[in-house]
């Protein structure tokens, strides 16, 4: 059963078993943070937990890798 998470309050559909990063990418959200120095947008790159480009804040917890973190119903992603 498809469920929802939110990114900055906006709903994003998720298929069970998908990672947060995959769900966002599928919904057309390809960047969810900016770099410290250049303010460059970042989203998925390696997709397997190696590059740390896709760090994301979910439910207020410290940043985690969106490509590894399985989405759960009601997860709240914040980007700023």
């Amino acid at each position: 059963m498809t469920f929802q998470i939110t990114i900055d309050g906006r709903a994003v559909p998720v298929e069970p078993g998908q990672t947060i990063g995959a769900a966002l990418h599928a919904a057309g959200v390809r960047a969810w943070r900016t770099t410290r120095f250049g303010g460059r947008p970042r989203g998925l790159f390696c997709g397997i937990g190696v590059c740390f480009d896709c760090l994301i804040t979910v439910n207020g917890r410290p940043p985690e890798r969106a490509c590894l973190l399985e989405a759960r119903p009601g997860d709240e992603v914040t980007t700023s």
């Binding site: 998908q18 995959a22 250049g38 790159f45 997709g47």
Partner: protein, 448 residues
């Protein structure tokens, strides 16, 4: 000595790190010989990269997946399988090893064992080029992981580039799942194996399948061509595709509008656990450091074994074979000559692939001064070259002066490129802490 969080007592004979074809075969073989085995993997499911799959994977077309899943189920009945566990270090006291992991919720888990099998696989080896940090640019393996693990097609209009036979299943998978694959750009070509990349996958059935899928979806396959730049404001909008000479210098360019690029130039074997334990390394045929093993998959350190890509990139068939050999050897069983011969043949084939799909130095001419080399610390080429001009003579001193490789990924992504820019062969990575952990977990280790 014993931490209160030790999950498994001294009763554990073998810990296998990695739940791909090598790790599962090794763990199952050893468990069938009566050993008490624990397999640890960071993923939510067994599979590693090649056999990555969704929970109800009936629709997954990965060749060999059914067999792998049967092995996984057989393993689950005979051994403890810890998924979602990230191994961050292995320590030794006397003849015992302790594997330190972290659960998804940050809980430390320590597993004591006599033997350790390193089956940690490999990740993509990217090369930097202008615009490669734009969202929409993914590694080939990343695009594959999205599809296999999540059922997500990486994009609508996709370009695939890099070198090696792995580009084919990536392109075929994307095209089959509905993406418009605008082209596969293979930077090499012309060698016997490169002219027949489908044969290079080593299994005629699989190869024919990818070739058919590419033909059915009219995916152009172009040799001696590469993506040398990515363009876009906030996301990828187009790439520059270049025709290359034999050294990868640019002969002519054109732009291709696309929303997604999947790019990969071979693989980086993940060997840090072995390196930190003192295992000797050797350069693979492409110069990448891999763990040196004997005919029984034994490293140079007592009780430490390795199988699959960490001993040299060779694909999933070789990985499974090496896992079986390691499982037999750890259990003290003889390794049948037929397995040893098959292993030598497949290893030679893996090395032939390295020679057919090398990385040529011309890629450095694609870089501009502001092209990022290190994505984590945002180090541009100019700063790396400034460090070299200051007198840095190797990748390590470049790192100290310009900080490439000092960020979150610990140089996993840029390490190869920095070594090339410094004019040296990539060295074995030193990562005493292989995964980010809490200070609490580190403090617990200190009390051991």
């Amino acid at each position: 000595m014993s931490a209160p969080d030790d999950r498994v007592s001294a009763a554990c004979d073998l810990v296998v790190v990695g739940g791909g074809p090598a790790g599962v075969a090794g763990a199952l073989t050893a468990a069938l010989r009566g050993l008490n085995v624990v397999l640890v993997d960071s993923g939510a499911r067994l599979g590693g990269q090649y056999f990555r799959h969704q929970a109800g994977a009936a629709h997954t077309a990965t060749p060999g997946l059914d067999r792998f899943l049967r092995q996984g189920r057989a393993l689950g009945e005979r051994a403890e399988v810890l998924l979602g566990h990230q191994v961050w270090t292995v320590t030794r006291d006397g003849d015992r090893l302790t594997v330190h992991c972290q659960t998804p919720d940050g809980r430390p888990v320590a597993i004591r064992c006599r033997d350790l099998l390193i089956a940690t696989g490999a990740h993509d080896r990217p090369l930097p080029f202008p615009g490669w940090d734009l969202p929409g640019v993914l590694t080939a393996g990343g695009a594959q992981a999205l599809l296999k693990g999540n059922g997500v097609v990486a994009g609508g209009r996709v370009v695939v580039g890099g070198t090696g036979p792995f580009l084919l299943p990536v392109a075929a998978g994307l095209a089959g799942a509905g993406a418009e694959v605008l082209g596969v750009f293979e930077a090499n070509g012309g060698l016997a194996l490169a002219r027949h990349p489908v044969l290079a996958l080593g299994k005629a059935g699989e190869a024919a399948g990818y070739g058919l899928a590419m033909a059915r979806h009219r995916v152009p396959y172009r040799t001696h061509q590469a993506v040398i730049a990515a363009h876009g404001e906030r996301e990828l909008e187009a790439v520059t595709v270049a025709r290359l000479d034999g050294d990868w210098n640019v002969l002519a360019t054109r732009e291709v509008a696309c929303d997604t690029l999947a790019v990969g130039y071979g693989f980086v074997p993940q060997i840090e656990l072995g390196v930190e334990l003192g295992c000797q390394t050797r350069p693979d045929a492409d110069g990448m450091p891999v763990l040196a093993v004997d005919g029984r998959q034994r490293t140079t350190v007592d009780g430490v074994w390795a199988a699959g890509e960490p001993t040299g990139v060779g694909g999933r068939h070789l990985a499974e074979l090496e896992g079986r050999i390691a499982g037999l050897a750890v259990a003290g069983a003889p390794v049948p000559g037929v397995l040893a011969r098959r292993r030598r043949r497949m290893r030679a084939f893996g090395e032939a692939l390295h020679h057919a799909y090398p990385v040529k130095p011309g890629w450095q001419s694609w870089l501009r001064d502001d092209t990022l080399v290190c994505r984590c610390e945002e180090v541009p080429v100019a700063r790396v070259r400034a460090a070299l001009a200051l007198g840095a003579t190797d990748a390590r001193s470049v790192k100290l002066l310009a900080r490439p490789g000092m960020g979150w990924c610990q140089g996993r992504v840029c390490g190869y490129a920095v070594a090339c820019l410094a004019g040296e062969r990539p060295r074995p990575p030193r990562r005493p802490i292989a995964q980010p952990i809490s200070l609490g977990a580190l403090a617990d280790l200190d009390t051991h």
